[in-house]
Amino acid sequence: MSTLVATNKKSFGATLWDYLTTVDHKKIAIMYLIAGGFFFLVGGLEALAIRWQLVQPMNDFVSAGFYNELITMHGTTMIFLAAMPLIFAFMNAVVPLQIGARDVAFPFLNSLGFWLFLFGGIMLNVGWFTGGAADAGWTAYAPLSTTSPGEGVDYYVLGLQISGAGTLMGGINFLVTIVNMRAPGMTYMRMPLFTWTAFVASALILFAFPALTVGLFLMMFDRLFGSGFFEANMGGNAVIWQHLFWIFGHPEVYILALPAFGVFSEIISTFSKKRLFGYTAMVFATVLIGFLGFMVWAHHMFTVGMGPAANSIFAVATMAIAVPTGIKIFNWLFTLWGGSIEINTPMLWALGFIPTFTLGGMTGVMVAAASADYQFHDTYFVVAHFHYVIVGGVVFALLAGLHYWWPKMFGTILDDKLGKITFWFFFIGFHLTFFIQHFLGLMGMPRRYWTYLENQGLDLGNLVSTIGAFLMGVGTIFLLINIVKTTMKNEKVGGDPWDARTLEWAIPSPPPFYNFKQLPLVRGLDPLWVEKTEGRKGMTPAEPIGDIHMPNNSFLPFVISVGLFIAGFGFIYQKNDLSWLTLVFIGMGIALGAMLTRSVKDDIGYHIHKEDLQKEAEES
């Protein structure tokens, strides 16, 4: 059926087609990595423009309107198009391997999720070229967003709607994968922490994204079809948007943070050469954070006027999250305790993360104190808080994970020296940028300020902050150099370059497309380590070599996404001219047609035959 060993180099066209139609989670991971990385650079560039505008008072590097587009797109891009997809990249690359699965539960949906995200992301950014991107903040509070002229906010609404659908599919896919596809012996309480966090994060996606979906629909109806959900003149109420947004938005920050915690749990344990301290407590804390994460959203709305009772309840609920998070911090510290700590690039990021995230979490608890938040809210103090947790937590984790799993994904290893240079530039730049913002906020600098007046005592702080941001930029450039260099050199490494503990390291790097020739038998936490300590080289198989069932590639996910993308334009522009509705019909026709094709065409996959597998084993 298919040649197992890729003999000849494929032509560019064939490779492209392969990626456009692939349902292999490892290739999808690479696509998420590239697309997410690209959007990270875009969002970073926007951040640099923001900081450059604020380098001195009354600066006019960009206009007020353009600045508002910059911050909106910076926030939206970073959260939805950079951080989330990059997390999905690692979840795709690692979770199936960590649980000893040959595949994810829904390979087709997995690919559909990716293409929806990508086309949604493109849609969001189209606004830049058609007269202005979204400019109402990443939170898009109505009525500012519903009355914002032009199409920018429409692109925001439809782009997020499309990519959000993709994310939801990804979430369900990982949930079912983890529930149904674990290798023999891989009980829940033997799952690596990254898999656990991916599981809880996926559950959060499942329950949080629908609120955003509805919010976006309501906003779309208000903007495009004249409904009045958020329109005070029609009896509407803009606070509904805020609730819906934050019912989604707060869990969202834990959707980002939990997998980040998972990454660090793996790295810290691997490079201390110790089993994770308090594994059970770590799992428990993960679930608890996920649960509590649903009951605190209104801490973003302390100044909305909900009244002292609601404010107090949400303040206390929010503070409670410090407890499970603290459990995590201390368990990491005690994993290090007594270990044999090797400090290489991934570990450096992990070590940089602990104090940084602690600071960010502490300011989180400070802003959670409702009456204190009356001062903090919507100032640079909050900007500092969330960059400490998001950059210091999530971005650090993504960079750590990038260095840690690069060998598994690509079979080569990133240069450690360049990695350390990246770290130091980024780390120092980060603290320069954001530490001082705490003070800026309290000294009276609100956020989303295009400019600030002279003679307000804010000049020095902003200057320092801008310098720091550019140091982060330098760090990022070193990372890019590292990636290019490593790829050019193309020096292959073995399956287990870090002497690691979990299942993904038991197979070659990069793994064959069927992952495990024979499903491994899992005999404890850190299964590979268990085998190693008993003197074995790899995993004991749980089954004899047999036929392997594989899913077929499919071009339909791409087609469905293109269809929705086209329909999106129709929806937006029909408000100016109803003839654009034809685009809606064409686009929806393509999408629904592709879905129908999917459902009537049998797709049962194919088998790799036992004999081929045996032959391959003999050859190598």
């Binding site: 329950f207 949080a208 109420n237 606070v239 819906l244 009951m295 909900m306």
Partner: protein, 107 residues
């Protein structure tokens, strides 16, 4: 892939019988659902006190939904532990959402 294709016809008949029993239960469930609906409509038409009617019809609705979930959708069968967990997870988030939108939006 788990393979349970080879089942004896005896087993099959046994299962069939069991399902038949169950089907009877489901028809009873259906009858109850209709009755509940009738009660709800009747109470509203009778123009009883709002404060009394609203909680009662909400409870009737909740019970009906329980019937749907446990009998029609087989949540009472085994193998539904995780589905139930995740579904109730959603219901929990759903409940908080409705509560907030009802209580906190106007003041």
């Amino acid at each position: 892939m788990t393979d349970k294709v080879s089942e004896t016809s005896q087993q099959f008949d046994y299962e069939k019988q069991k399902r038949k029993e169950e089907m009877k239960q489901q028809v009873i469930t259906f009858a109850l659902m209709i009755v509940f609906t009738l009660i709800s409509f009747a109470m509203v038409l009778a123009e009883l006190d709002r404060l009394f009617v609203i909680p009662v019809i909400l409870v009737l609705a909740a019970v009906q939904v329980g019937f749907q979930l446990y009998y029609f959708m087989h949540m009472s069968h085994k193998g539904h532990e995780l589905p139930a967990l995740m579904f109730y997870g959603g219901v929990f988030a759903a409940f908080l959402t409705i509560l907030a939108l009802v209580v906190l939006v106007w003041w």
